[in-house]
């Protein structure tokens, strides 16, 4: 980190974000250099385990097609708990409101949070509200924290991938990131693209009840998209990953918009998607089960874990080539001469 100020790229979820965490935040806060790169922390408590997580939401615009900052804040935290296999129990919420935010908008956000919590079956139990002067914030920032419990003894983490595992995704990629971008910039796309923001805990619960330890890794490909998330898993598990471009589900409208905007859908954020790395013998049945669930109708098998170079993610392209998938430093930058 040669620059002595925070750059926007430090929040991109790419290599700059990782460096901020590994070189400054974690060593300073906990003195531990190696971090548990999972969506939630797992705490031992009274002979059992608790999952604990927190997330900040600063999305612009606060209302977009398919959702708003409120349901996003609930779903995000619920999903972070679900991705370690926990059952979400309760959520805490903190609001930072900018002077001037319309009460009607705030109410709409609160209602969306309540509805999302109901859908996920989780209670919002405590919170805090602060107001900052006009210009010192951007309408509304929300932080949610969540606590979850375990109904089983499974160890699900980004480090659990095994060679041969199949990689499943519960539906098409890129919808959320594009819906937000289109909303923010007022882009009139041919087809309305809606955020996929959704709670995944019921889907995860169903999969774990039925398949238990066949599920090795669960991860939601949010910021940085499927590419960044798979790269993290490959590194954490010290395995290779093969991803098949043609198998990756993507809505035609999203594919078209990505092509027009010059964005690689593999790096676009999702808010209702999970990647499941599962034992190969259970993969077909798991996929079937996923597809029967409302949050998994577009599920697909998109790749597998290989003995390839540890940490390497290979994309097998539609024209038969192999490309290395890397984490980006920050934004997608031109590289073709």
């Amino acid at each position: 980190m040669n620059n002595d100020i925070i750059l926007l790229g430090y929040g991109s979820g790419g290599t700059l974000s990782h460096r901020l965490l590994d070189e400054l935040i974690i060593p300073t806060l906990s003195g531990v250099a190696e971090r548990e790169q999972n969506d939630s922390a797992i705490l031992a408590h009274g002979g059992g385990r608790l999952a604990f997580t927190t997330d900040g939401y600063v999305v612009d615009p606060i209302f977009f097609s398919g959702g708003n900052i409120g349901d996003l804040a609930i779903n995000g935290t619920v999903n972070d708990l679900a991705m370690v296999g926990a059952k979400p129990l309760a959520v805490a919420v903190a609001f930072i409101l900018e002077e001037g935010l319309a009460l009607a908008e705030f109410r709409k956000i609160l209602e969306a949070m309540r509805a999302a919590a109901d859908l996920a079956g989780v209670r919002i139990v405590t919170g805090d509200t602060k107001v900052v002067p006009r210009g010192k914030g951007d309408k509304i920032f929300i932080t949610t924290s969540g606590i979850g419990v375990f109904a089983h003894a499974l160890e699900i983490s980004g480090g659990g991938a095994q060679v041969g595992d199949k990689i499943l995704i519960n539906g098409p990629v890129g919808d959320h990131g594009l819906a937000v971008l289109a909303g923010r910039e007022g882009l009139e796309l041919e087809t309305d693209i809606r955020s996929d923001s959704a709670p995944l805990n019921h889907l995860v619960g169903a999969l774990l009840d039925e398949f238990g330890d066949a599920v090795h890794v669960l991860r939601d490909p949010t910021r940085g998209g499927v590419a960044t998330t798979l790269k993290e898993i490959a590194r954490q598990s010290q395995v290779g990953i093969r991803l098949d471009e043609t198998a990756l589900p993507i809505n035609p409208a999203v594919a078209g918009a990505c092509a027009l905007l010059g964005l690689d859908p593999l790096y676009v954020a999702n808010e209702g998607k999970l990647l499941a790395l599962v034992a190969p013998e259970a993969a077909d049945a798991l996929l079937e089960q996923m597809r029967r669930h409302p949050q998994g109708q577009g599920a697909a098998l998109i790749g597998e874990v290989t003995a390839g170079p540890p940490g390497q993610v290979q994309l097998h392209t539609s024209i038969g080539g192999r490309r290395a998938i890397e984490m980006l430093a920050g934004e997608q930058l031109p590289r073709i001469c």
């Binding site: 290979q314 192999r322 031109p334 073709i336």
Partner: protein
């Protein structure tokens, strides 16, 4: 007469090129005693005789050495005479440091060719004939010293006849490591897509299939070619169809210079380049009446021609005046070089495979060159040239430079020598990346260097930059892309000190986080100052704007006209909904990084004049714009003003004038000429202003745009008319294929300065 004795140490390319037999014979002719032997630094000689004879011997060593030898160091010292009889060749000594250089792969020599076609010779029609003066080198070497066990010829034990030649100091094949004959050497085979041998004589059957319009994969020196009969329009069309995504011009291998004259025009410099031992593909002006299929080089006024360079090529070309011989690869993949890999990757394109059982250790694509301003200019420096050293103006610490992202090459330095690798390609492709890693390892081994300084580009997402990040315990030095281009040209031209640099390029990551590529620099190896640049414009969609020049056209139109776009075909071709979004991206900077790229201005103009709104390979739009030029002396206005970023070239007036002419129906060729003329004029105007500011009078032209013959020649003329000394590339490509050399010298200089 008094006897004297000398020790003579010779370094350079002196092994495996017939040097010791030459020394032996020369010594005997001069009546000297003593010995010669190879060691790991080169050749060491002790010679004794009369003073006169020794002098003749030394002159002969320097002036009459074998054609493939290249002497980089020559040291003579006196020794006391000893009692001795005769002159002998001693066994190699490999205990010292290993700096002896490996020669590049070289065209089959005249003596071998004569034997190849002599029915009385034991190698009559043998496709793998070679000697110390010719044949495979770099592509078959696995380790040093250069001895047969350290080549892929290790699999072929010499037969008694070959062994005798190998041991005979008077033979042209004395210690010829790849020496082979039909009894003991590699063999040809013709196989189908499953690797099953096809019945009959492989060569005759291959020729018959080509004659029938078939497409063959042919294993050569550094990889596979796809071959088709150039005179067979249907075969050419079929090859185009099977390589569907690829619109790159096909190279042609022609039987001889006479056959070449039927297809293209060339002068003496071009003839020498074409017929030289390196055998590059030379871009030559196509004769209008060449009569070949237009699908060979669509929208191109040039043909890429090369002469046969292996004995196998000579045998094949007996039956054809010209064969299409295009690199056997799919779009961005590297050229195929392993047999199983070639069959699996090319199975959908080739009908059959003409192969042999001599393994290729290192992949090497054909080199590509053209003649510019009366001397050769390398566009791709690869087979035939690599690993010949580029000599640096100043010796430096050993550096590994990892190059750019596309057209990648790497560079290792050792003292005052820089070894620029063969063309590696687009690193995003994993096969290419693997070949990149292998090449670095191989070069380190061949030259026995393990540089602790690694130079890389500033771009955070280049695969090569990432690779540099993973190397443990080395000192990493990031070099700005266009500074590296500047240094690359300076290094090959032997310049030191400070110069002005006009770096006109595709794109490179800039120190300010924007995407540079039309840069006015001053500086040298130690550093640079950005004194100005092309006006920034948005690249809507990032890389998509490079793949689709229509986007850059829109960006430049928006800059020149605002929201009211002129009714050009390129504008109307974009559906209204998309156009609105693209304009919004441009206006609001949505995934639209700012660029000062000159290459993107070329793309925009190519799209504006209606030549091309999408490209299928890098540089296609700019190339076609150059090809379209019709003679014209006109120019367009442009602004050159001092702004915040220094001297800013603003092409908006140029774009407005050019659009006016297109709408008025002026021919594309004249518009293109006037566009080029304007840029040449701008180059001179910029250089004048920079000279006023800096007092510097030497101008270096580098960057991918300077592959453009018209712009280089016209720009150079205008600059020279203003009294500038102009330096352009020759040995090393001006495009990103030459970048690693620049990175290496910049890093070497910085370390030398102790900064």
């Amino acid at each position: 007469m008094a006897m004297e004795r000398r020790s003579i140490r010779i370094e350079g390319i002196v092994q495996g090129v017939g040097f010791r037999p030459f020394v032996y014979q020369l010594a005997r002719r001069c009546g000297l005693t003593g010995w010669v032997r190879n060691d790991s630094r080169g050749v060491l000689i002790e010679a004794q005789g009369e003073k006169e004879s020794l002098a003749r011997f030394l002159d002969g060593l320097r002036d009459e050495h074998p054609p493939l030898a290249a002497i980089s160091r020559f040291e003579v010292s006196a020794l006391p005479p000893i009692a001795e009889n005769g002159f002998s060749i001693l066994a190699s000594d490999a205990t010292q440091e290993k700096t002896a250089q490996i020669a590049p792969d070289t065209h089959v020599c005249a003596d071998c060719l004569r034997e190849l076609f002599d029915p009385a010779d034991r190698r009559y029609l043998y496709p793998f004939i070679n000697c110390t003066n010719c044949g495979p080198r770099y592509t078959i070497v696995t380790a040093i010293p250069y001895d047969r066990p350290n080549t892929t010829m290790v699999d072929f034990p010499l037969c008694p006849d070959c062994l005798e030649e190998y041991r005979d100091p008077t033979s042209r094949r004395f210690h010829a490591q790849p020496n082979a004959c039909p009894v003991c050497g590699p063999r040809l085979a013709l196989v189908d897509r499953d690797g099953q041998a096809i019945a009959g004589d492989p060569l005759a059957e291959a020729v018959a299939r080509l004659k029938r319009g078939g497409i063959l994969a042919v294993k050569g020196l550094g990889g596979y070619h796809l071959a088709a009969d150039a005179d067979n329009g249907a075969a050419v069309a079929e090859l185009r169809r099977r390589k569907a995504r690829d619109e790159k011009p096909f190279a042609l291998m022609i039987r001889d210079l006479a056959a070449a004259r039927e297809l293209a025009e060339f002068d003496e410099t071009e003839r020498r380049l074409l017929a030289g031992p390196e055998r590059p593909i030379v871009l030559l002006r196509a004769r209008p009446d060449h009569g070949l299929s237009p699908l060979i080089a669509p929208r191109n006024r040039y043909l890429g021609l090369m002469l046969p360079y292996t004995p196998l090529h000579h045998l094949l070309l007996r039956d054809f005046p010209a064969l299409v011989m295009t690199s056997a690869n799919l779009s961005d993949e590297p050229i195929a070089f392993e047999d199983g890999e070639a069959r699996s990757r090319l199975g959908g394109i080739a009908d059959a495979f003409l192969v042999h059982n001599r393994a290729i250790h290192t992949r090497a694509d054909d080199s590509i060159a053209r003649v510019m301003a009366g001397r050769p200019l390398m566009l791709r420096r690869s087979r035939g040239y690599v690993p010949r050293a580029v000599f640096l103006p100043v010796a430096q610490a050993s550096v590994l430079a990892v190059g750019a992202e596309l057209k990648n090459t790497v560079c290792l330095t050792q003292g005052d020598r820089a070894y620029l690798s063969q063309h590696i390609g687009d690193l995003k492709n994993l096969e290419v990346h693997e070949s990149f890693v292998r090449t670095i390892k191989h070069l380190k081994k061949l030259f026995e260097v393990d540089p602790q300084i690694v130079a890389h580009d500033l771009h955070p997402d280049y695969d090569s930059s990432r690779y540099a990040e993973t190397l443990p315990g080395v000192r990493r030095i990031a070099v700005q892309h266009h500074h590296a281009h500047l240094a690359s040209c300076m290094a090959e031209q032997g310049l030191t000190g400070e110069v002005l640099g006009l770096i006109f390029d595709g794109i490179g990551y800039g120190a300010d986080g924007h995407i540079w590529g039309g840069e006015f620099l001053a500086g040298g190896y130690g550093g640079y100052r950005r004194l100005g640049h092309f006006h920034y414009v948005p690249m809507p969609g990032g890389d998509a704007a490079t793949r689709e020049p229509a986007r850059m056209a829109l960006s430049y139109l928006h800059q020149a006209f605002g929201a009211e776009l002129p009714p050009l075909p390129v504008v109307k071709a974009i559906p209204a909904g998309e156009r609105t979004i693209l304009l919004k991206m441009i206006e609001r900077g949505i995934n639209a990084p700012l660029t000062s790229s000159c290459g993107r201005l070329f793309d925009a103009v190519a799209a504006l004049v209606g030549l091309r709104d999408k490209v299928s390979y890098e540089g296609q739009a700019a190339l076609e714009l150059e090809m379209a030029i019709e003679p014209d002396e006109g120019e367009y206005p442009f602004d050159l003003e001092d702004g915040e970023g220094g001297l800013i070239f603003d092409p908006a007036p140029l774009v407005r004038a050019l659009v006016g002419e297109i709408l008025a129906g002026v021919a594309v060729g004249r518009v293109s000429a006037r566009f080029h003329n304007s840029l040449a004029l701008m180059m001179a105007a910029v250089a004048r202003r920079l000279r006023e500011a800096t007092g510097l009078n030497r101008v270096v032209l580098s960057g991918g745009v300077f592959q453009n013959l018209y712009l280089v020649e016209r720009g150079t003329r205008l600059l020279q008319a203003e009294g500038f000394e102009v330096f352009t590339h020759s040995l090393v490509p001006p495009n990103d294929g030459g970048l690693a050399l620049g990175q290496a010298v910049v890093a070497g200089f910085r370390v030398g300065e102790g900064s």
